[in-house]
Each structure stands twice: as structure tokens, then as C-alpha cells.
Amino acid sequence: MKESHLKVDPVLQALRALAENDREREAPPEVEARLLGAFQLRHARRVRRIQRMRTWAASATLAAGIAIALLLWPNRTPKPAVNATPPVVEVSEAARPAAEAGPAPKVVRAPRTLARKAAAASPPQAHEVVTDFFPLMNPAPSFGRGQMLRVQLPAAAMRTVGLPVREEHLGDLVQADVLVGEEGMPRAIRFVRFDVK
């Protein structure tokens, strides 16, 4: 390469002239406006996500509080919420912990081929059976919006709303739906069992 022929100084001068000429060039104001719009949108989404997480955390804490309160609540006179005769909810085998389930009942097995055919014809499906809602606030304020939380509670909690539970099943776990109001207070509860058909 012929380094002696290269003129670095005039090149630097020319580059400086270009840099000086373009010194004031910058992105048009629309770019800033678009970026600020994106920033606000992104930040608003972030704030909403944090608020949602806080609401969920508060609701979960409340649900846990309800579970404890229901357990510690002294037994009261059965007072069904809607039905004149309280619906009976039995603790499902599925919800019962394996360690507490006791000895497994004796099962009479169908012949394999028959069982297979039956299974192919109608696969077993779990259906939810729920009680009516039992109010947890008395008097209950008007209800606008809220959330339903699925929680697991000891079966003893069912007695507190007047549902019959056998003594030997009091420690079993049952599923319940807790209706939490917009203000975060638990409004009503219903119990769930799963029937396999």
C-alpha cells in the first residue's frame, strides 16, 4: 500500500467539516412522541400487573384467613342459605389425602375385555357438584363485582354453615369456592364435590 500517498490530515479536516455540518441533526420530534407513548403504555401495563398481583395476594391471604376463621368458629345452628333443606355434600374420595383414606375398599373387578369396552364407550368424567352459596357476612352489603377463589378446607368448615359431616371425616379436605367482593372481603362460600360418571 502506498502510505506515502495517503493524505490523513486533509481527510481528518474533511471529516471534521462533515461532523460540524451535521452536528445539529437529530431524530425528528415524532420519534420522541412515539417513544413516550410506548413508555406510558408499557408503564401502565406494568402498574396494572403489579396491582393485579397485589389483589391476588390479598385475596389468597383472605381465603387463608377464612379457612382459619371457619375452623375456629364455634358450631352454630344450621342455617342454610337458600334451600329449606340443606344440601348434603359428601367428602369425595379424591379430595381425601391418601394417608387418611384408611383401608381401600374391596373392588370387584369386571372382566378385562368388558372393562376395556366400557371404558372406550364412555370414558369417566369428573363432574362438579356444588352446594348453594352460604353468606359469610351478615347483613351482606350489595355485591357489584368480585372474584371467585377455589380453596381447600377441612371438612369441619362445612359444619360451620350447617352442613352435616360425619365425625370421622371432619379432618378430610374438601374444595370450596369463596366469593370475594371488590373490596377484598369474603362474601359467600360454597362447597364442591366431584362425581365421576
Binding site: 486533509p10 481527510v11 471529516l15 451535521d22 420522541e32
Partner: protein
């Protein structure tokens, strides 16, 4: 004055004023880097916007130990530009037109306006590695360290690219001038 890093930290926590201040402080160099590298104002506008969007999305990845925030922004802009330019046009050859000897006075013959446009055009015709080094170090006055961080190469490589880029530029300008005279 609040540092770039402090502004970024605040912006990532939702401080709009900090983001605006950081943008206003650094958009010019980013835009000009894109402009001198691509030669296209619309592309430079898009790249500037995308650089700051990327900063909002991935600003947490900025590591001050690896370079300044400005070099981080140059690095993002460079990657965006390389992607666009790779699609747009083939690289120029980096061979020097050695058969043409440069006249010592030819650059002086150009008017200021012509010089500027000739230099702009010559810079744009440099192969990307040399163009990036010249634009960062000579047009934007970035330090060798910042340029090295942005270009993801050692400082020594920046120096050698810069030297070769200037030499090529001298030759290209000499050719242009000789042609315009003839």
C-alpha cells in the same frame, strides 16, 4: 448532572422524566451514527426509535463494567443497522484504488458544500467495519474504548480499522476530486 446510568435506572422504574432526559441527551449521537452509517434519514429515524425501545425492554442488561451507556446504545444501533443494510445492499470492496495517485491539493479545490457531500458519500462507500470506526471515532468523537465496546472488538482493532478507513477515505476522495476536475 445526573448520569446516564442513573437516568436509565429511574426510567426502568417508570420515571418518564428520566426517560425523556436520557432520550434527549443521547438521541442525537445515535441518530447521526445511524445516518452516517446508512445514509438514509428514514432508516436512521426508525433505528433511533428502535434503539430506545430496546433500551426500555432490555435496559436491565446494560453492564457499566463493559462500557458506557452511549457505547451500549451504539452497539444496539449497529446491530439494527447491520441487519437492515445486509438486506439492502452488497458491501463495497475494501480494495484501495492504488493506481490513482492523490494530488496534494485536490481536496482544497472542492467547495465546502461539495466537500461535505463528497465526504458523506465516501464514508458511506467504506466497507462496514471501517465505516463504523470512522463514524464513531472521527464523526461522533467516541473514545476508542467506547467504539471498541460498541463494535465488540479490541481497542487495537478499532485503531487499525480507523487508520485503514481514513486511508481508504483519502483515496476515495482523491478519486472523486480527480474525476470532478477532469
Amino acid at each position: 448532572m445526573t448520569s446516564d446510568e442513573e437516568l436509565l435506572e429511574a426510567a426502568l422504574h417508570g420515571d418518564e422524566a428520566a426517560f425523556t432526559a436520557l432520550y434527549r441527551r443521547r438521541q442525537g449521537p445515535v441518530f447521526r451514527f445511524a445516518l452516517h452509517t446508512s445514509g438514509d434519514a428514514a432508516v436512521s429515524e426508525d433505528v433511533t426509535q428502535e434503539v430506545f425501545m430496546a433500551l426500555l425492554e432490555n435496559g436491565g442488561r446494560f453492564d457499566p463494567a463493559r462500557g458506557t451507556l452511549l457505547s451500549f446504545l451504539y452497539g444496539i444501533a449497529r446491530n439494527l443497522l447491520l441487519r437492515r443494510l445486509a438486506m439492502k445492499r452488497p458491501e463495497d470492496s475494501d480494495a484501495l484504488p492504488e493506481d490513482l495517485a492523490a494530488d496534494d491539493d485536490v481536496l482544497d479545490d472542492l467547495t465546502r458544500r461539495e466537500t461535505i457531500e463528497a465526504v458523506r458519500s465516501a464514508v458511506l462507500s467504506l466497507p462496514a467495519p471501517y465505516r463504523e470506526a470512522v463514524v464513531l471515532c472521527d464523526l461522533e468523537n467516541a473514545s476508542y474504548e467506547d467504539a471498541a465496546a460498541a463494535l465488540e472488538c479490541p481497542v487495537g482493532t478499532v485503531r487499525s480499522r480507523l487508520s485503514r478507513g481514513r486511508a481508504m477515505l483519502g483515496q476515495k476522495l482523491a478519486v472523486k476530486t480527480a474525476r470532478s476536475i477532469s
